[in-house]
């Protein structure tokens, strides 16, 4: 899995407000970056910019390899049972054996439950299962641990570590500490733009 994700001199804004500027980093295969910062400092905006869903205000994003994104919106149809909602993404991704991800994340008993009845943590795990089934090298995870119980936090952390250990790349925005070996940290506040700087 060859992967490369880097940003150089990146600046992003939301509305008229400049969130951060001069942000640069480089991530290669087998590397993980923990993105921290208070609410509203631009973690989600940065992740969406890296995923090329929005364009940066200034600077450049370089991506080599396919990107998988997990955020608070899991793109699972709320009225469908979880199994059917997930099977749409399995068909799109051409995934032939989804059972492994489902059993690892303990989703098998929930396959008949409509997505709208699932809890936040269960939905998050379902989103992660969809991400696992894609088998992409770069993971962008926006608050992957929020809403998870203690056991699930351990499990998801282990999955991220496994992905990175296997040559993958991960960028994780989280308020919780992450027990992943060799994890680098990036505090987005270090690049915060002052109000008068625009």
């Amino acid at each position: 899995m060859q992967a490369q994700l880097s940003a150089s001199n990146l600046a992003c804004r939301r509305g008229d407000r400049l969130l951060f500027k001069g942000l640069s980093f480089e991530l290669g295969s087998g590397e993980a970056l923990h993105l921290t910062g208070a609410n509203g400092t631009g973690k989600t905006t940065l992740i969406r910019t890296l995923a090329r869903l929005t364009s940066p205000f200034a600077g450049e994003v370089m991506v080599e390899g396919e990107i998988g994104l997990l955020d608070e919106r899991t793109a699972l149809d709320p009225e469908l049972p979880l199994g059917k909602a997930l099977s749409f993404w399995q068909r799109v991704d051409g995934c032939t054996d989804p059972s492994k991800a489902l059993s690892v994340l303990g989703l098998e008993p929930l396959l008949d439950v409509p997505v709208r009845y699932l809890s936040t943590g269960q939905r998050k795990r379902a989103g992660l299962a969809a991400l696992l089934n894609r088998g992409v090298p770069i993971w962008l995870l926006d608050e992957p641990l929020s809403g998870l119980d203690v056991a699930a936090i351990k499990q998801v952390t282990a999955l991220i570590a496994l992905h990175v250990g296997g040559g993958g790349t991960a960028l994780i925005a989280s308020h919780q500490p992450l027990a992943i070996e060799g994890l680098r940290a990036l505090a987005i506040e270090d690049f915060a733009a002052r109000e008068d700087a625009l």
Binding site: L53, E66, R73, L76, R134
Partner: protein, 216 residues
Amino acid sequence: MIGSMLRRDLSKFFPFAGGGAALPVVFFVAVAMLYPFAVGPDVNLLARTGGGVVWIAALLAAILPLEKLVAQDIELGTFDQLKLRGATEELMMAVRLIAHWLSFGPPLILATFPAAALLALDGPTVQLLVLGLLAGTPGLAAIGLMIAALTASLRAGAALSGLLLIPLALPILIFGSGALARSDAASIGFVAAISLLLVALAPFAAGAAIRAAREV
């Protein structure tokens, strides 16, 4: 990928497949049913004006599915995830347009027959009506998709989309019901031309709209 997208869209929007997707068709027949009650049972009057009523009912029915057509998938993040998998917004909107028309056009055309019976329309009129709707509903679906994509990120989107669709659908209505007034199939050609233009335009306009909605 396109096949699975179309399958998902159809299962979301096709009447009786789930949700409230059958409502536009039921609404369409209900309007046609209401009209004789309002103007009285005069067969000649009904036969003369009934075709126009069917067109207006079709136009109103086109407004109903718009609220869910695009906004829900923006909210769910479906379009974002498809984009990450390499699909362009134009492709997503083209697929959505096909699914929207399939779940709205043909059922409406089928429902025209009971509606025509209720309005005492004669054979040639029904024929012109069905031909006109066949040519016009893709255009209505295209207008609807563009409006749904444009208003998806607005709070008052649902009310606004109805207001926007009516003037934009006017050319289709004029030529479509004009064919009935003059018993002349030629103006259906105009309806088809307008529809074709709108269908060609819609994926690009709607795609640009959902791309713009991302950049807040």
